[in-house]
Amino acid sequence: MISRRSDRPASAVPASPHDGADHFAAANALDGRRSTNPSAPAPAGITPLKVVVAGGFAAGKTTFVDSISEITPLTTEAPMTQYSVGVDNAGAVSTKTTTTVAMDFGRLTLSATTMLYLFGTPGQDRFWFMWDELTRGAVGAVVLVDTRRIADCFGAIDYFERRRTPYVIALNRFDGVLAHPVEEVREALAVAPEVPVVVLDARDRESTRSALIALTRHAIARKSGR
């Protein structure tokens, strides 16, 4: 039996109360002052690019990042209390907790002027707000799917569709096999025909690279078509 994204109630992903808002800026604007144009290129002239790596718990996000990163994946943390005030409407998390949002990420120096960062999304649904920061300005997203637990990625797909972020579906082969054929999974995910679905082994660098190439191609097609 395969789960279908269309079977779920539409409210499965909470409508973000902060769509389009800049939480990090808000959290950081201690003196109420907004950005003073941080985008002026420095002499170093390095362009950072980022790709978001999403998927359910244990779908292979960190493995994916690790397979292509030139550094051992690092974990960056932000305390939940900074952002939860007025954000976490679910009420599941008390602002008194010291919960930390942790994100694993890796880096790939592609040229003297281009660095690609791969950010794994925080696993739990209550960290949706963190996804806004990760997704803003990103090339796009790779949604890793464990075909034995397809429903785990529905939330991520909903999120990227709502944000109109280019994404590819990457079916991670565990033990070398897919639990369901690609077409069956595509149908269950109910993704648009133009969304690439690739099969990969997240441990394999070539596999990971192919997924990133598919994503970049898809992002170009989306942008060119506009």
Partner: protein, 114 residues
């Protein structure tokens, strides 16, 4: 008010200075200047570590992870170092919906030849 206070506490490292805090993307690349590296021995520990780390370019996210501070703290420390012209920042000049087509095409070339 109490919410603000709760928020401010992690920033004790920044000596309470809130000026020069700007919206630093977590993938903004930080590089320290020669002058900063000469003066690093006179800086407080976290600032000195950032200056030394960023002799090679590092992102805000990497700084947070490698110095062992939360992202928000890393942002404030870097903003502070920027204000003193101890570090230079390189960020992508993209819209929220990501890089333009020519940047994406360069990325595609890089990934294919990588």
């Amino acid at each position: 008010m109490s919410a603000e206070r709760r928020f401010l506490r992690p920033f004790a490292l920044t000596q309470g200075r809130a000026a020069a805090v700007i919206d630093l993307p977590l993938d903004a690349i930080v590089t320290s200047t020669d002058r900063a590296r000469h003066l690093a021995h006179r800086m407080v520990a976290e600032r000195a570590r950032i200056v030394q780390l960023c002799a090679e370019p590092h992102s805000i996210a990497e700084i947070g992870a490698l110095i062992g501070v939360h992202l928000g703290v890393a942002r404030v420390l870097v903003a502070d170092l920027m204000a003193s012209e101890f570090v230079e920042l390189s960020t992508a000049d993209f819209d929220d919906d990501g890089p333009d087509v020519s940047t994406l095409e360069r990325l595609l070339d890089d990934l294919q030849t990588f």
